[in-house]
């Protein structure tokens, strides 16, 4: 069983009259990729900044690695903020070395790892370039490498793939999966719901400072899904009981809405018993995109 490495316990924060967080509580487990979701202004960045001790919560507490979060934990935490940049007038490797050294690496080790990470993100040739020579995509990859080179136990990445082409998006996703394989925890804040479905183990969705959705990605999707299945079959699809509606999607694909309380396997059994030649049968889960939109709209309503 995974142990929580980060615990947010009834966190509250207000900026003057504007309430940013209203008693937010959830855990992030060791070795998982955790999706922190929410519309713009929901309070995600505030929560992350509280975790990183950049700002203080008005109420509540943050536990990290089983202890109340303090400055001593900063070396084990990494943070790629949404509003980010590099020292434009310095050499790439010098900036990376500095960020690594700030996380507790010796200068020599930080420099060695910086060069290794530049190889890893396919930018070994830019090591001595001034940062202002980098393209936006290059700069983005250097920023990510700068944060990951200290191999933090918990890393918070706020929109790490914004502005990257699909090839580089895939590269970054591979880096996150590698971290998970190595038992490192990643908190991923993103608006790309396909990434959440592809990468995240669990999610928390915050809206207007409140935690609206929290749990494993599949479980959340099931919770917000209609009782629907998709069937790929050869020939016509026979009528079976406990089906509320059948929609022909063409090319041998049907979408079947089940009657309330009917388990999908009973429908499959009924179809086979009725002589249907079923090639594929899959319960349909609601896309994270739909869940996100629905929760946010409900919140506004």
């Amino acid at each position: 069983m995974s142990t929580p490495v980060v615990i947010f316990d009834t966190i509250e924060k207000a900026y003057g009259q504007i309430v940013a967080l209203r008693g937010v509580s959830f855990d992030v487990n060791s070795g998982e990729i955790f999706g922190l979701l929410g519309p713009n202004g929901a309070g995600k960045s505030t929560l992350i900044r509280i975790l990183m001790d950049i700002i203080r919560a008005d109420k509540g507490r943050v536990m990290v690695f089983g202890e109340p979060r303090s400055r001593v934990h900063l070396d084990r935490l990494g943070y790629l903020p949404e509003e980010r940049g590099l020292y434009t007038k310095l050499a790439v490797v010098d900036v990376m070395t500095y960020f690594g050294a700030l996380k507790g690496l010796s200068r020599a080790e930080a420099r060695r790892r910086s060069l290794a990470w530049l190889e890893k993100v396919e930018l070994p040739h830019v090591a001595t370039w001034k940062v202002d020579r980098l393209s936006k995509g290059m700069s983005q990859k250097v920023q990510i490498a700068s944060i990951l080179l200290s191999d933090p136990d918990v890393c918070v990445l706020d929109e790490p793939t914004t502005g990257l082409d699909p090839v580089n998006v895939q590269m970054v996703q591979d880096l996150l999966l590698e971290r998970r394989r190595n038992g490192r925890t990643t908190i991923l804040s993103t608006h790309h719901m396909s990434q959440v479905e592809e990468l995240c183990d669990r999610v928390a969705l915050i809206n207007q400072g409140q935690l609206m959705v929290y749990g494993e990605v599949d479980e959340v999707r099931r919770r917000y899904s209609l009782p629907e299945v998709r069937v790929h079959a050869r020939g016509p699809l026979p009528h079976v009981p406990a089906v509320a509606r059948t929609t022909d999607e063409g090319e041998g694909s049907w979408r079947i809405l089940l009657s309330d309380g009917t388990p999908p396997h009973e429908v499959l059994a009924a179809l086979v018993a009725s002589g249907a030649c079923v090639d594929r049968f899959e319960p349909l889960l609601a896309p994270m995109e739909d869940i996100f939109v629905r929760v946010v709209k409900e919140g506004r309503a």
Partner: protein, 442 residues
């Protein structure tokens, strides 16, 4: 990673980033060269003109109607200078004898039998001027002086030379030679002694006490330059970090106190290195000053020199912390400098009050300023330099303690303002917002 390691990391990065900048290198090594070149541009033409004018003696005509001077032809009265004997000795010891020689005027008085004759010689510019000693000179002591209609700055020197000559001629052969010499020059030379409040007798020559004035003055000027220059680097660095959006990454790695301390050490070190380079270049080029000081039996204020380093560093950190914290509230470099201006003016206060402090170095004003952290450094150095016996050990210790305490508070306040300044985006935070944020970050 310990707090000190974080500070060291920030300091090393800031120092190396600063000293590698072309602007820094140009200012550090180019400024002395620029000053030397500027000095040459100003001094060389003046030197050439001066050399030309002093190569020949200054010839003045004299129309001596009563015949008191008894001139039979040109009379060279020799070099005339108001420079004191001890200063002359010191300059000669420093190898500046030739320069001294060049600096002295050589006057020749040429007799003319009539005003018309002298007038014609001046109009033809054969003379620098001419004096008319009228018939009734002995009764009313009046002289007429004629000079060219151009600007003339050597008039008083020639008048003094003529006065000396008149005195000599008026008394010689009427008094015995010794008395005559004293009438012409009542004070040949003086020896000065200074008596401390403890009754101790010390050399009181003006040159001997030069360091007692120079040490605090150099301290104040260097301190002010360091504070102003380094605060510029600090504010520039912070503005760059805001602009480059690396603030959150920094704050997620080290706390504001550590970042502020690291910046102060790193950029402060760069600023001090720059001043050291300038001082070294100055000392190398002005090495001749050493024998001058030795020869003049300079009274070295050792206590002031010993206290200078610790007071300099602590006061520097005190002002640096406040300036960086206040400056970081600005949204751009100009606004940052305006906000930090109040500290610049405060740092300059002892220099502005120098006249009062020198007149009464152990007066009430100086004693009060010894305990005020904003002025403690320069005032303690001034008092220790002037008369160390009048500065009690508990005043030094207390002043240092107050300064250390104020520096600690200043760094804490600076760090808090620094955090608020770093996290504020867009418009400058209001005073109310600053107070509110300061409470939240406590």
């Amino acid at each position: 990673m310990s707090a000190w390691q974080k500070i060291k990391t920030v300091a090393t990065f800031e120092f190396l980033s600063a000293v590698k900048r072309p602007g820094y290198l140009i200012a550090t090594f180019g400024m002395p060269l620029f000053m030397a070149a500027y000095g040459a541009v100003v001094a060389v033409p003046a030197y050439i003109a001066d050399k030309g004018s002093r190569a020949a003696a200054s010839v003045y005509g004299v129309v001596d109607e009563p015949g008191v001077l008894r001139l039979s032809g040109d009379l060279n009265v020799g070099k005339q200078s108001p420079i004191s004997e001890e200063m002359r000795r010191a300059l000669e010891a420093a190898g500046q004898g030739q320069a001294l020689e060049r600096a002295l005027d050589n006057f020749v008085f040429r007799p003319y039998t009539s005003r018309d004759e002298a007038h014609a010689a001046l109009a033809a510019r054969h003379l620098k001027g001419y004096f008319v000693i009228p018939q009734n000179y002995l009764r009313d002591g009046r002289l007429d002086v004629y000079t060219p209609d151009s600007f003339n700055v050597s008039g008083s020197d020639s008048r003094n030379a003529l006065s000396d000559l008149l005195r000599r001629r008026l008394v010689e052969q009427r008094l015995d030679p010794a008395l005559s010499a004293r009438v012409v020059k009542p004070i040949e030379r003086t020896r000065r002694f200074a008596v401390t409040r403890n009754g101790e007798v010390r050399d009181g020559g003006s040159t001997a006490s030069i360091l007692r004035f120079a040490v605090p003055l150099v301290f104040m000027v260097l301190f002010l330059i360091s504070v102003l220059m380094t605060s510029g680097y600090l504010m520039q660095g912070t503005a760059t970090e805001k602009e480059n959006k690396v603030v959150d990454v920094l704050l997620a790695s080290a706390n504001p106190d550590q970042i502020l301390a690291g910046k102060l050490l790193g950029l402060g070190g760069a600023g001090l290195l720059q001043i050291s380079v300038w001082l070294t270049m100055l000392m190398v080029t002005g090495v001749g000053v050493v024998p001058l000081l030795m020869s003049a039996r300079v009274d070295v204020p050792w206590l002031a020199l010993a206290l200078a380093a610790p007071f300099f560093v602590i006061a520097f950190l005190f002002f640096g912390g406040l300036m960086l914290g206040t400056g970081s509230l600005g949204t751009n470099m100009r606004e940052a400098q305006q906000l930090a201006m109040v500290w610049s003016l405060t740092a300059a206060a002892p220099l502005m009050m120098m006249a009062v402090l020198i007149r009464e170095p152990n007066g009430l004003v100086a004693k009060v300023m010894t305990w005020v952290p904003f002025t403690a450094g320069p005032v303690v150095i001034l008092r220790a330099s002037n008369d160390a016996s009048q500065l009690a050990w508990w005043e030094i210790a207390g002043s240092l303690l107050v300064l250390v305490g104020a520096t600690w508070l200043g760094l804490r306040l600076g760090a808090r303002l620094f955090r608020i300044g770093l996290l504020s985006a867009g418009a400058r935070p209001t005073l109310r917002e600053i107070v509110r944020q300061a409470r939240l970050t406590s």
